[in-house]
């Protein structure tokens, strides 16, 4: 019990410090959290509506449903890749539970993720989409999103140390997953042959689940949540033991 409380305190302190480090202080912080998802939805809306000419139903809301979970994972990966470098002074000064650092990176970005739900509210109002009882699925879908972000954080922290020169490439790889999934248009608007391939992307189930909850009012299909959980569990099974073994060497390479 004492160990758990100490871990919670440590996570709290690391996350609080990380929030100030990455996003500063005061009301401007909220603005920074909102700016990026709003800007992304704006840009992709122009792309989908005027360039691709495939707006579909409530395109702004559909895009927001994909951008929100994607931004959580993307921002977590960005944070986690430099999380050890940022904490260099404390890593070189004292011993503490370093394997909580990736979780702290995911928690930090969850704060901005929570704030950006304002975007969904704005889009639902703009397209006059009424909330449905499917909103009850939201806590579970949020949990799956966070679980995937934590898994990505462990992989990114370690790869960020092992392959420093490939950090931009790793970010591009994660960004690519948005476009190799139903990020711009819903899965239903893609061809059947491509659909099978897109379903291999762990983001696909998440994007579709958020669309179900906010837009279509359908119950998310089981695979949409089970598949990202399975992929995240696989990543954690590989990278947590590796992280645990490598963390004793971190102070040497920073």
């Amino acid at each position: 019990m004492h160990r758990l409380r100490a871990a919670v305190d440590l996570l709290h302190a690391l996350t609080e410090a990380d929030l100030r480090f990455r996003y500063g202080r005061g009301p401007l912080r909220l603005l920074r959290w909102l700016l990026e998802p709003f800007a992304l939805v704006g840009v992709y809306l122009v792309l989908v509506t005027f360039v691709l000419r495939r707006p579909g139903e409530a395109p702004g809301l559909s895009l927001a449903a994909a951008i929100l979970p994607f931004q959580l994972v993307m921002a977590t990966v960005t944070n986690a890749m430099v999380a050890l470098d940022i904490r260099r002074p404390i890593l070189l000064n004292m011993s503490f539970r370093r394997n909580l650092i990736p979780v702290s990176a995911a928690l930090t970005e969850s704060m901005s993720f929570s704030a950006s739900f304002l975007l969904v509210v704005v889009m639902m109002a703009a397209y006059r989409v009424a909330p449905t009882p499917m909103l009850l699925w939201l806590p579970l879908v949020l949990l799956v999103s966070f679980y995937l972000a934590v898994a990505a954080a462990y992989a990114a922290s370690l790869l960020g140390i092992w392959l420093r020169e490939f950090r931009p490439f790793l970010l591009s790889f994660v960004r690519m997953l948005f476009f190799l999934g139903p990020g711009l248009v819903p899965l239903s608007q893609t061809s059947t042959s491509v659909r099978r391939l897109l379903e291999l992307n762990p983001f696909t189930g998440l994007f579709e689940s958020y669309r179900d909850i906010f837009l279509t009012g359908r119950t998310p299909a089981a695979w949409q949540l089970i598949y990202p959980v399975a992929i995240a569990s696989l990543v954690l099974a590989v990278f947590v033991p590796l992280f645990h073994a490598e963390q004793r060497q971190f102070a040497k390479v920073l």
Partner: protein, 258 residues
């Protein structure tokens, strides 16, 4: 694992270091990489930062680590602080460790003094509540005044050391590790550090300090360990070990004795 004989011997000591070795792996660009990363790369090299280092420290001892730059002083302190895990050998440290191992003093530059103090308190083993409660005391101990509320990036090296030491002192460690940090302090705070360190040693605690200001170190430590290229050359009373060190570095002797 320690043998039963060694275990008995350990219990008399606060710190036991047995045949400790620390390895550093480099890639072909001479950057330090982890052993696993080294396995994935071609043309890597390896060097020992510490090799076969054995010593122990009893309660109530002040020990100075002396030697030229790159001799392994900081590495040894980092091993004692648990920052480095030995690649070979064993380390046993019994007690609450307070460490100031860099001029950064473990502070994050974008955070204020208060935010850093809170974070370091929790990292040092206090609960969040305890760490919060201790903030005003840390502010007072550091003597930083209003600067406590400003980002640490605006601090001088001495101010950072003051804050770092105040946080460590607040946690009441039984083992104090100081790496040259006290040399960055002003005279007023230096005397506070000396007084605290002396009181800790008198109470049965341990101080292990490194630095190049030997008169300052001698005030804190009656014993010295001379490190050279990652190995121990001499271990004993401060003045004797200092003489051995000066014998090995004639240029230092000449400058010091003029």
């Amino acid at each position: 694992m320690l043998s039963s004989d060694n275990s008995r011997r350990c219990c008399e000591h606060v710190i036991t270091v047995e045949r400790v070795g620390i390895r550093f792996h480099f890639d072909r660009h001479r950057r330090v990489v982890t052993p696993n990363a080294a396995r994935l790369r071609v043309a890597t090299s390896m060097t020992w930062g510490l090799r076969d280092v054995t010593f122990s420290v009893s309660p109530g001892e002040g020990v100075a680590l002396i030697g030229p730059s790159g001799s392994g002083k900081t590495t040894t302190l980092r091993v004692l602080a648990g920052v480095y895990t030995p690649d070979e050998g064993h380390v046993l440290v019994r007690g609450r460790v307070g460490s100031l191992l860099s001029t950064d003093a473990g502070l994050l530059s974008l955070l204020t003094g208060r935010e850093n103090a809170l974070l370091l308190g929790v990292l040092g083993g206090l609960s969040r509540k305890e760490s919060k409660r201790a903030l005003e005391s840390v502010k007072e101990r550091s003597g930083l005044g209003d600067a406590f509320e400003y980002p640490v990036s605006a601090y001088s090296q001495g101010m950072r050391a003051r804050l770092g030491f105040a946080v460590v002192d607040e946690a009441e460690p039984s083992i104090l590790l100081l790496d040259e940090v006290h040399e960055a302090l002003d005279h007023e705070f230096r005397s506070i550090v000396h007084e605290r360190a002396k009181r800790l040693v008198e109470a049965g605690g341990v101080v292990v300090a490194t630095g190049h200001d030997h008169p300052l170190l001698e005030l804190l430590c009656s014993r010295a360990i001379y490190l050279h290229q990652g190995s121990i050359r001499a271990d004993g009373p401060f003045s004797e070990v200092q003489s051995v060190y000066f014998d090995h570095v004639p240029a230092v002797t000449a400058v010091t004795h003029t």
